[in-house]
Symmetry: C2
Subunit: 448 residues, 2 copies
C-alpha cells in the first residue's frame, strides 16, 4: 500500500503545519488506506488532526474501517454533535457493528444521538442476536416492482443507486414489500427498456432469514457466488441485504475464532495486537486450568504403576515420546474432522465411515512409528522394553486418532462448536489413555 | 439446500425413466445445487444420466462446480468431442483450475482439444505459477475507452456484458490496452449519457500483478471491498480480472491449509472426504516422524536424571502435567502469532514488543497454574516436591510461551510458512525444555 512510502512525507507536513497540502494529499488516498495509516499512528494528537482534515463523507468511511483502539481514542476527543455527524454518515451495517463493540450504556447514548428515523433502523438491527445475519444487513438496496417496465426500473435504479450499498443485484418486491425475486443488474442493462420486469424474473433466488447464523451467509454466498443476498423474514417481507464485503469479513473472523479454539484460546474480540494483557490472560487461563484438571488424571494413572516404574525407570524415558505421539496423531485427526465439518464436506451422520478410514490410516501410521522406535527400545532397554514400546506406540497412535476423530462429532452432538476439540484438549485426554495403555502393556512384557 | 428434500424424488424419476419430468425438475435448480447433488450420488451411471440431461450451458456451469472425484468419473465416460464441448463452455479461470488439478499429459491432451484461440488463452493462464494471481484471472471483462461518451460505453457494456464474468466493474484502457482506471458500473448508469468516460475517471484504483501470490488478491479485496480486481502486467497492459467468487474460494483454501499446518498435516489437495487412505498417510507420516525425532531428546534428557528419578518416583507423576502445560501455553502463543502474522495485524519486525507482552501474560498464567498445583504437590510428595512442581510450572509455562511466540517469527525469517509452528511441534520442543527445567529444579529442592 501507499502508506509506507508516504508516511514520512505526511509526518513532515504535519510538523510544518501545511494543512492545505495535507488535505490535498489525503484526498488522493482510498479510505481503507487512510484508516490503516491512522491505526498505525503513535501520536493521538496527529491522528485527530488528520481525521479532522477529511471531508465529512470520507471521514465516515474512514471511521468505519478504523481499528477499535483508534476509534475509541478519536471518539474520546469528539463532542456529541461531532459523533452524531459521523454516526449519521455511517452505513447502517457498519453502525450496527460499531454499536455491537461498545458497552451497553455507550451504545444507548449513541443511539439516542441519531435522528428519529435512523434510530428506529439502528434499534431494529441491534434487536437481532449477535452473530446473526440481522446484524450484518443493510436496509439500503434497490427494489423494483414486477409491473414496471425495464426503462422505469432503470430510472429508479439511477435515482436510488447512490444511497444503495450495491446495485449489482436488484430485488423485485410487491407494493407491500413481499420478496419476489433477485436479479442481477445486467439483466436490466441488457434487456429492451419496454420489457416488463415481470418478464425478466426467473424465480431463481436464495435468501437468508435475519435470525440465521452469520456463517450461513458465508456458506450460501460461497456456494452461489452472489455479491449480495436478500434477507427475508418468516412472512416473506424483505428486510435488507447482506453484501459480499461484510461476508468476507465474517469468514475471516470465523476462521480466526476457529484457529483460537484449536489452541484452546477463547476467541478474542478485535485484533490480537490491540488486546491488553488482562484480556489475553482471561482468554487463555480457563482452558489451561481445565487442561491441568485433565492432566492430573494422567499423573494418577501413573501413580498406580509406581512399583513397576521404580523397578524399571528406563520405561519412563519413553513416556514423553509415547504420549506425545498419541496426542499428535489425535490432533491431526481432530483438525481434519473439525475443518471438514466446518466446511460442510462431512456431515455429523458421517462419523462411522470417517472413523473406519481414520482407524485404517492410524493403523498404518502406528506401524510405521512403532517400527521406528523398535531399534531405540532394544538399545535402551533390551528386547522386552523394545516390544512393549513398539506395541504401545501402535496402540497409542490408534487410540489418539479414534479420540481425535470422535470428539468433534460428540461436541457437535452436544451442540458445542466442534473446534473446541483443540490440540491441547486431545493431547491431555490422549495422555491419560496413553499412560494406561503403555504401562499395562509394559506390565505384561516385564512380567509384573 | 433443496437437494435433501428432492433427492428421493429424483431417484424415483430415474428409476421410472421419466426423462422429460427429470429435465424440467433440474431446470429449476441452480447449478451449484445440481453439482452438490451429483457429487453426493453413489451410482456413477445415474450421475452420467443426470448430467447428460442438462443443457449445454448449464452442464458446463455444473461441471465447473463439481468435486474432483465426480469430475474425473464423468470425464472417463465421455469421448473427446464431448469433453471439448464442456471445455469450450467453461469460463477460462475454471478451465485453468481444472487443468491445474489434472496430471500433465492429461492437461496437454485437453488443451489440444480446444479451438486455436481458446488454446492460446489456456496456455497463457497455465503459464503463470501455481498459487499465483495469473491462474485465477479471466480475460472476460468489459473495457471502455476514455474518449467514448457514457452512452457509447453503456452500449458497449450491453453488447459485451453477456460474455463477461462481471459488469459491476468497468475498466478504462487506451487502444493499446494500457490500463487507465477502474470504475464501478453505477457511475455509468448514474451519469448523463453525453458525458465522456474521461470525466468519470478518478484515478483511484488498485491492481494486481499476474505473478503476485493469490493471497495478495484476498488481502486487497478484503481491504478495498471491491467485487473484482484488474490484473496488469509490468508494462501496464491489462491482462484480465479476478472476481470475488474465486477470491473467496482462495481465502477458504488458504485458511484450510493453515489449519492443517497447525496440526502438522501437510495440506491436502481437494476435499478431505475425497482423500484416499494412502494420501492421508503420506500427508501425516512425515511430521509424525520428525516429531518422534524431537521427542527422543526429551527421553534422553530424562535419562540423565535417572538416578534422581529412581529415588523419587513421585516426581514422574507430575511430568505429563508439567510438559503438557508448557506445550499448551506455547501452542496458544504460537496460534495467536501465526494468525496475527497471516492477517497482517502483526509485522515480522514486531517480535520484540510481542515477546514482551507474551512474557508478561505467561508470567501471570504460570503463577496462577503454579498456585493451582501447589496443594496437589503437598498432598502427593510433601513441601519440597510441591515447591519444585510449582516453581517448575511457572518456568515451564513462560518457556513454552517464549518458544511459541518466537518460532513463528523465526520460520518467517527462514522464508517458511509461520503456520509450520504447529501445536505438536511446539509441544515436542517444549517437552525437552520442560524435562530439563523440571528435573533441574527438582534436583535443587531434593538436594541431589
Amino acid at each position: 500500500m501507499l502508506k509506507n512510502l508516504l508516511g514520512p512525507e505526511i509526518r513532515e507536513l504535519i510538523e510544518r503545519k501545511e494543512w492545505e497540502t495535507l488535505k490535498e494529499t489525503l484526498e488522493n488516498w482510498e479510505a481503507p488506506d487512510i484508516a490503516e495509516f491512522l491505526d498505525d499512528m503513535d501520536s493521538g494528537t496527529d491522528r485527530v488532526i488528520l481525521f479532522r482534515l477529511l471531508s465529512r463523507e470520507i471521514g465516515a468511511e474512514v471511521f468505519a474501517e478504523l481499528g477499535t483502539t483508534a476509534r475509541e481514542k478519536l471518539m474520546a476527543t469528539m463532542n456529541d454533535l461531532q459523533i452524531r455527524e459521523i454516526l449519521i454518515d455511517l452505513p447502517p451495517d457498519d453502525r450496527t457493528s460499531l454499536f455491537g463493540e461498545l458497552p451497553g450504556e455507550v451504545t444507548q447514548r449513541l443511539v439516542n444521538l441519531l435522528p428519529a428515523g435512523e434510530r428506529g433502523e439502528a434499534l431494529m438491527l441491534l434487536g437481532y442476536p449477535e452473530q446473526s445475519v440481522g446484524r450484518l444487513m443493510t436496509p439500503h438496496y434497490v427494489a423494483v416492482r414486477p409491473e414496471w417496465t425495464v426503462g422505469r426500473a432503470l430510472n429508479h435504479i439511477r435515482r436510488r443507486g447512490r444511497e444503495s450499498e450495491t446495485i449489482s443485484m436488484v430485488y423485485v418486491t410487491d407494493s407491500s414489500w413481499a420478496f419476489l425475486d433477485a436479479l442481477e443488474l445486467h439483466h436490466f442493462i441488457l434487456a429492451s427498456p419496454k420489457k416488463k420486469v415481470r418478464d425478466l424474473m426467473d424465480g431463481n433466488f436464495v435468501h437468508l432469514n435475519p435470525y440465521d447464523d452469520r456463517e450461513e451467509a458465508v456458506r450460501i454466498m460461497e456456494h452461489y457466488n452472489l455479491p449480495a443476498l436478500p434477507v427475508v423474514d418468516s412472512l416473506n417481507v424483505m428486510l435488507g441485504i447482506v453484501t459480499f464485503d461484510d461476508v468476507m469479513d465474517v469468514a475471516k473472523e470465523e476462521a480466526t475464532e476457529d484457529f483460537y479454539r484449536t489452541a484452546a484460546v477463547t476467541p478474542l474480540r478485535g485484533n490480537y495486537p490491540e488486546a491488553g494483557v488482562g484480556q489475553l490472560y482471561k482468554k487463555r487461563i480457563p482452558w489451561l486450568m481445565v487442561l491441568i484438571g485433565i492432566n492430573l488424571f494422567a499423573g494418577a494413572a501413573m501413580a498406580s504403576f509406581e512399583e513397576m516404574i521404580s523397578r524399571a525407570v528406563a520405561l519412563v524415558f519413553f513416556l514423553p515420546l509415547l504420549i506425545d505421539s498419541g496426542g499428535n496423531a489425535g490432533s491431526q485427526s481432530a483438525t481434519l474432522m473439525v475443518r471438514a465439518l466446518a466446511m460442510g464436506d462431512v456431515r455429523p451422520g458421517d462419523w462411522v465411515s470417517m472413523l473406519g478410514r481414520e482407524v485404517l490410516v492410524a493403523g498404518l501410521l502406528g506401524l510405521t512409528m512403532g517400527l521406528a522406535v523398535w531399534g531405540l527400545g532394544i538399545y535402551r532397554g533390551g528386547p522386552a522394553v523394545a516390544a512393549a514400546v513398539s506395541l504401545a506406540m501402535v496402540a497409542v497412535v490408534m487410540m489418539g486418532s479414534v479420540i481425535g476423530t470422535l470428539l468433534p462429532f460428540l461436541l457437535n452432538l452436544l451442540r458445542m462448536d466442534p473446534a473446541t476439540a483443540s490440540a491441547p484438549l486431545i493431547t491431555s485426554i490422549a495422555d491419560i489413555c496413553g499412560v494406561l495403555i503403555y504401562f499395562s502393556i509394559a506390565a505384561r512384557f516385564l512380567g509384573t
